[in-house]
Symmetry: C2
Subunit: 466 residues, 2 copies
């Protein structure tokens, strides 16, 4: 089969043995294992040809995009990896329609650069933007820091092309805002983590590039106070709030300890630190007034002032330069670096209704302490989405303890009307939670759809669908 | 079986024979046929019990909601109709989370009234709001006049409950903004027109009620000029444009002829008439200035002024009162009444990329005239979505001619990168277009999913999936 694959993509683009070892380890270091072979197609046709071969040989295929996932979705020991890293063409950007057509291997930061040169943005962003690729982002329905304003990947994909298990290509690349022609297979594939088809290209929604930003670090009096501030800002600015990111005191401390040259956001250490950003897309919001401030910054300052007087806010710093804004963002975007520092870790990705975020922390900390009094924790949250990345560092390496801690965190979220999986996908690490907590009728429907579209179970088998 | 069904819902809620005749005719009058029986459950449990009976007897079920569809999706001659009209409970409105939990039979206008009493809106609206029900709107992924700002039904459903073919209940009622727990079965069911499951309840996204509106009728110099104006307004008001509705001169003429007491929008008849509305949700947009105007109305007037000077706009009237605003909206919302006036009609629901709307009209009119020189036409469009309802009144009743005209309109849209189905669903009338124009791999995937989830083919058989 390796020979057949070499004939499709060229022998330089098939790696086996030691050459495949570059794909042996994922970013977190938790999922290790050398693939049997790695094949690197350059086009949709090549992906289709590979799938036909895999289908004929009933050989499992694990698609890998940027390999920045946190849940083992691309784990492939002894398997055949299909890497999309050569499919990085930005086929076109339509400035009038505000859409971009891209191959699945385009790196997020490259798309950012290409669109911004045309005064547009592809609005999704997160820490791994320098390595994450569009295909993986679609496969996991990625989120990030701007979901509040622009939505998840699901809301940003207008068209999609995918190769199905039998090697046939499904082309749904219309870039229309209204298109109802039968079952929405685009939405079914988004978030399916390569289990139903391999996404090879997409038409993505772009947005006008903000002309300016109003960005601040805010020390809120409490989590409920921070949520109150969020609602005030959303209502006052009509959807211009792009990010509302929560970093507790323990996050600031860990950031100071792990990142050289990092600084405290405030003179005093506060419990509830919020990075808030508003984006000014309209001229009326972005044209500086006599005092040099843009109207949206004046609005932010006025709201922070009012919140300070109302006791919701203890301290706040509005960025006065792009350098100050960058420092605020870098602190937030270092989350993955300071979370995965080599220690054994239980990392999670839960979401709860906004009003339940304070209760989540109130419930989960004693529950974890009851299992492991020596454990420490770390949290960072897209507070505007109710999405908390809550991480525990257990005091001892005990797989049973790790599983118990993870289950406790997931159960706490679900008991508050939340979800055990917000934006990182299921992969391997959340399979057990899915089996335990997902509606059983939905689980059966997922299995039936998987059997219908991939009867030989060759597409990323053993992931996402228990 | 009727006895068993009567035992489930009570005999008063099972109609047969002449009593079932009330369900014999749909709103358009194009799809006639008396159902064998109509069963009217009051709860999800009753729907589940009915589905278990239908499954046991391999008996087809056609779910009917408001019966306002235009494509025969609820056509059920000789079949068993499951009417959701008794399931009209608004279970709760969460003002903090801005969500509503409703049964599938809630009438859209009733939800409007309930939310507006709490200073919130369920933002979707269209002409049939007094009869259309939430279940049917979810089943067809309904659109309407506010999609530009708030999105289609697909974007407004956070949680969903459905009864599957075997009578089991799938509960996905979380109201979270980020929730990725395996395949997105909610999105798969939205737009599936009752072929995969029967939606019984939903959690819907609400929005702040606009404090004021800025509404105008605009005579644009041309369609490209109108699209230019749309982009100016969108960029200047940051997503406050709620509606941008196109009515050509022929629409105005037909409206004058069919609606008693209707008035011309302008002293002179213009070719390109646009209803534009901006919604002011923020205090800074809605607080009247010294001249009594709200800032968003001042912005609209300034943009119209500039567009007039630039030659994009020929005339414009800004509504000065709610009564004037209502008159503008009533003219638009009468579209269905003036389209379906008893004559034989080819009604369509196409979408094209925004920039292709002028070309669509340039191409389609001569193509229809070539088939039937005596045909007349009518158009009305959600111009901001590229969604045109283009209707032809052929000069003679000839089924072959009707089919040829429909195919020509669909083909024209698709040849311009568009879709033959934007917001009304597939039902029966677009099945042929779907078979002809949809990607064949996608069609096969749709069929495979249908077989997987409804192996006995009892859920609305013969609709939506060719």
């Amino acid at each position: 089969m390796i020979e057949t694959l070499s004939a499709i993509v060229g022998s330089a683009n098939v790696a086996t043995g030691p050459d495949a070892a570059a794909w042996a380890r994922d970013w977190t270091g938790k999922y290790e294992g050398v693939p049997a072979a790695v094949v690197r197609p350059a086009s949709t046709d090549e992906v289709a040809a590979i799938l036909r071969v895999a289908s004929e040989h009933r050989r499992a295929i694990v698609p890998v995009s940027g390999n920045t996932g946190l849940n083992g979705g691309a784990h492939a020991p002894g398997a055949l990896v299909l890497s999309l890293d050569r499919m990085r063409a930005i086929r076109g950007i339509d400035t009038a329609a505000r859409t971009a057509e891209v191959q699945a291997g385009v790196v997020l930061a490259d798309l950012h650069a290409a669109t911004e040169a045309l005064d547009l943005i592809f609005p999704m962003t997160f820490g791994a933007k320098g390595s994450a690729r569009i295909g993986g982002m679609i496969a996991t329905n990625a989120g990030g820091s701007n979901v509040l304003r622009y939505g998840s990947m699901r809301h940003l994909v207008l068209g999609l092309e995918a190769v199905m298990a039998d090697g046939r290509v499904m082309r749904l690349m219309g870039g229309l805002h209204k298109d109802n022609t039968g079952l929405d297979l685009r939405q079914l594939l988004i978030g399916s983590e390569g289990t139903l088809g391999i996404v090879t290209a997409a038409v993505l929604k772009l947005a006008p590039k903000p002309r300016a930003f109003a960005t601040a670090m805010v020390a809120a009096a409490s989590l409920p106070a921070a949520l109150d501030l969020l609602n005030r800002l959303k209502d006052a600015s009509v959807g211009s709030v792009e990010a509302f990111e929560y970093m507790p005191a323990s996050y600031i401390a860990r950031h100071m300890a792990h990142i050289r040259g990092s600084r405290e956001p405030f003179a005093e250490r506060h419990e509830v630190n919020i990075l808030v950003e508003l984006g000014a897309t309209a001229a009326r919001d972005a044209t500086p007034g006599p005092d040099g401030r843009i109207p949206l910054a004046a609005l932010l300052e006025a709201e922070l002032e009012a919140a300070l007087e109302a006791g919701l806010v203890l301290d706040a710093t509005v960025a006065q330069s792009e350098a100050q804004r960058r420092e605020m963002w870098t602190r937030r975007e270092n989350a993955a670096e300071i979370t995965f520092t080599g220690e054994a870790v239980v990392d999670t990705d839960i979401a709860v209704p906004l009003s339940a975020v304070p209760a989540f922390f109130d419930h989960v900390r004693p529950a974890v302490a009851a299992l492991d009094p020596g454990a420490t924790d770390l949290a960072v949250a897209h507070l505007g989405d109710g999405n908390v990345h809550y991480t525990v560092y257990p005091s001892r390496e005990d797989p049973g303890l790790f599983a118990a801690i993870r289950a406790t965190i997931d159960d706490t979220a679900v008991s508050l009307g939340g979800s055990f999986s917000a934006e990182h996908g299921i992969g391997l690490s959340k399979l057990e939670a899915l089996r335990r907590l997902k509606d059983p009728v939905a689980l059966d429907a997922m299995r039936a759809i998987k059997r219908a579209l991939d009867p030989q179970n060759i597409l990323n088998p053993g992931k996402t669908i228990p």
